[in-house]
Symmetry: D2
Subunit: 337 residues, 4 copies
């Protein structure tokens, strides 16, 4: 950690600050220049509070050198993490495809989609029972009945299920869910993250619309710090000035996260694109970028979907996509899980 | 609502779509051009789902003409809303200042700050008992003990208290809080918003770091739709590419929200600036923009604050700021509340 | 084009406005709803000025339905454009790689890099003679001597050369350059674009750091409207809030531009990444996204580069990249040009 | 400047790098920690190239501590700069208002607007003769005839004129212009900036739509480094994700620039807002933020303006605004210039 002092900082106050810092158990290298003085803090600076230093009126700036996340950090955990869900592997050479409708609408709809995506080779079934909607007047999901239908679809197809949780109070209701999804809007719902840390359920953590990669890793750190190592990250597009696409898929997030962390990373091209025809080209870039899998919206009848129909593929389109993805995963020497 | 059809849309399918739309109780004006065909949907289009239309493969684009929020909309509620808290007024000509520490740290700290901000003329006391922190290793707040200290400070100073809720499960614990704050990270925690809609407590709703103004109004709509009319909005800086400031205060949000909605709007210059010296110039722009008040972080000893010390004013700085703000509120013909 | 009138617009003024619009040669479909009145303008609306309509005080909003670009628009030019440069093809099934140093530094440096990238299979040689630098104190390029060295490198290697122009006054000096690059900072230097429109030289137009895709296509339209059909687009990363990468490669720009326009699109992963190790994964996503080629910075000794060394590959790294790219282009059924 | 070395950097290579750095005339403070090694470069680091250091494969990161701009830096030039234009002062306690039409359209239009804004108390007359338009099909300005009309308007009203230059080739034609404006799209047209540095004309430099404040100051540095001290900065809104306003006025830019630089700063609320009714509230925030003046679009008949009519005030609206601004400038103890 680097502390840059103000040019006019009084010597006595600088000494006092340095004493306080040393009491935190870190060493200081002092560099006096003509225009600035720099304190280099070396040692375990994890417990040195940047805010506390910045608030001192003799400090001009503070910059972290080492990352604030530890358990999510590849530096301290060099090998890739692989999460296992009912015998299916996610990460470390395996390529998974989680597919299904935006929201569970009826038994018939869910079972049709579930058996279709299974036939096409999907790894897991997704489906929203509780839906976070911008408008209070939009369809909010079938709620507990939706959960029940998902479990029924799992019983019939054998596909593990992924569904979104909205609050830590729902953890008991989600006891039989295979992967609990934390949506983009809840990425910094820290009470929920802490509660998931005390579980051992695999957690699929989606990046917030304007969350930095570091913030995403810090949210993963909340779950890991609670003792749950089963975290899967998911990039789903970020918010920018561009108007022709709903969100900008941040494809560079894949290599950056792979460099910084050992956790698996999926891409959700459906939410990034917001429109069905763009799912395929974006899915292709995900495979090429080194992602560990995809999350794709599929609906038996997109024109009648109660939510996000515009971005949903129909089963035939999904089957074609899967054929393409399988060839591409093989090209990248990944095994479909 | 405008539906733009694809140039090659088949006549039979267009008629079928038009029939479906009419069954929703809206009229259609059909405009055929050389390069595009447009359906103008007129009447009450609130229940026409944009997603459903966009998912049709003969539809090129759909554009809403009227706003998706109703209860928050000034068009249907022309007069300003004023929220009353223990006899103090917020909005409609009154100018309020909510001040206090980022987090409650101890009885001594809170009482010192509370009596100082009261002496300087603050309307309400703020203080975090439950803190949403990016890092699991940062101070997370005194929690229920913090709430207890806030109520104690209210008893002693008479200042109404504002504090942040993290989850709908805490509503009972917040029964004695005067204004419940929903933080930027929870702006789209819809379960929390719904629960607050069933309460009658004043809700201070902060704009998310990358939430559009429309999304902020839609989140307010969740609370209003539940039956709670006491919503106060707060702009606290948005995320952009600029690196010299922590967040960009979106000062235009004030006139835009005033045009679109009847709800009171506060500005939080402390979180926008991220640094104490910039609080004063930003607070001044808030008054000039027509905001209904300010939310300011004050700490008895900013260099030792456990959270956000860099942006906190000390009591003397806050007192000077209040003198300045009072003169400016008078200039704008606002009454300090 | 859709014109939304204000609810309280007077009938007489609405008629007058409609008369004015009709005089521009377009038809109007009038739709009166309960909360809004809509005018649907149909016919050739290219010459109807949105600004003029928006300025009317009875108009609430104006929305374009058809795109404002015509010559760049795939709707009126369905087949892909292919640009030919000294017998090498760019676009329409051909995959090109433009490689070379950020800036020309010396004859030795340029010839070493040029022969290395030729040996590895590059299509064209890039190199900056005139450098747009943020700081007036940074190296500004060898200028005309740089141009001379580029022509020398072309003579020796046979590779067509690509170099950046800074001003329309340089067109004569660039007479022997094969492809004239317009840099991101000059994407809306309209005098330069107009001058290039009067030339027949292939123009490589880079997207500005915060230019929308529509603005990029409008800048291309300037060149096309002047009579020069040889425009190649290049995406090189956009500016967002994310701090871990220099710019966010907007990979969705490739399918979007391919849908909207017939012009070839390249990707510059070097400028997007800002760091050498990320060039390879981003280059892979470019091939998968359907881009027509790459623009890669290569330096014989990146640690000593006078500009952008951090993002430059050395010749050995570039050779490995080319082997990988060739396999990927073949997978996509593209022919290396 | 701080150089962070990679953990595994070889001792021999570190020594070699340190030798190279010392030869540039700067001292190094070496700090070895358990997880990182830091070199603190002290002395005059202006000529140490960050790119060069970053390109070294033993370097993990490089961070500048001191600002890269010198002549624009308040640290080396503590007192405010005041630019004088035909006896009118801009900056340092004076408050100026530059007003006029977006583009010069006719003698009648310009003279009407010029005499109106003069009567209302404007400091200077603005008007575009050469217009940078996104579309090649939009009105591009009256060009040299526009310049002639501006000079005529100055002769009649006595108001100094401000107009936008498009290219360094126009400098001779702009010899009689009082203040040369560099538009947002040309903020990094470095050839133009260099040419203006060799002039002594006051330069009004507008911030690019996604330029950082540091980049704006670096562009000012180009002009200052050429020997021209007469630079006036102008903030006109930045590009963000928000859709309800054309650009987000970055009001914090005013206090930040005032802290970092001694140059005058104006605000252009017309371009930020994009709509006339929002000009007034934004202009008010500019005065409160400490800006040195405003730039306002005024048209004698906004509904018929050939450009940006929607954001133009008519003379009566401008007169009301000026009355308001005069009261506010007096409140801030500024003198109208």
């Amino acid at each position: 950690m680097i502390v840059i002092l103000k040019p006019q900082a009084e010597a006595g106050r600088v000494s006092a600050l340095m004493e306080q810092i040393k009491r935190l158990g870190v060493d200081i290298h002092y560099s006096q220049g003509t225009t600035e003085t720099i304190l280099g803090l070396v040692g375990d600076t994890a417990h040195v509070d940047v805010d506390w230093l910045r608030a001192s009126d003799i400090v001009a700036d503070v910059r972290r050198v080492s990352e604030p996340y530890k358990l999510a950090n590849r530096r301290f955990h060099p090998q890739d993490t692989q999460v296992t869900v009912s015998g299916r592997r996610i990460g470390e050479g395996a390529f998974c495809v989680i597919a299904g409708p935006c929201s569970v609408e009826s038994e018939e709809q869910l079972l049709q989609v579930a058996s279709a995506v299974k036939a096409s080779g999907a790894t897991c079934l997704r489906g929203g029972a509780f839906k976070p909607r911008t408008s209070p007047y939009s369809f909010q999901g079938l709620e507990n009945e939706g959960l029940r239908l998902l479990l029924e679809a799992r019983r019939i197809t054998g596909l593990p299920i992924v569904t979104e949780i909205m609050s830590e109070t729902q953890l008991d209701d989600f006891a039989d869910v295979d992967i609990i999804q934390v949506g983009a809007r809840n990425m910094q719902n820290f009470r929920l993250l802490k509660a998931l840390g005390h579980s051992r359920k695999p957690v699929l953590l989606k990046r917030g619309l304007s969350a930095t990669i570091e913030e995403l890793l810090m949210s993963a750190e909340y779950v890991l710090a609670g003792g749950n190592p089963n975290v899967i990250l998911c990039e789903r597009g970020i918010r920018t000035f561009e108007k022709m696409i709903r969100n900008n898929l941040d494809i560079s997030a894949v290599p950056v996260i792979k460099e910084k962390s050992h956790l698996p990373v999926l891409i959700d091209p459906s939410h990034a694109a917001g429109i069905a025809w763009m799912v395929k080209p974006l899915a292709r870039t995900a495979v090429a970028a080194g992602a560990d899998g995809l999350m794709i919206e599929v609906h038996n009848n997109p024109s009648c979907a109660l939510c996000d129909g515009a971005q949903s593929l129909d089963p035939a389109q999904f089957d074609l996509l899967m054929q393409d993805i399988r060839r591409r995963a093989a090209f990248e020497e990944k095994v479909m899980s």
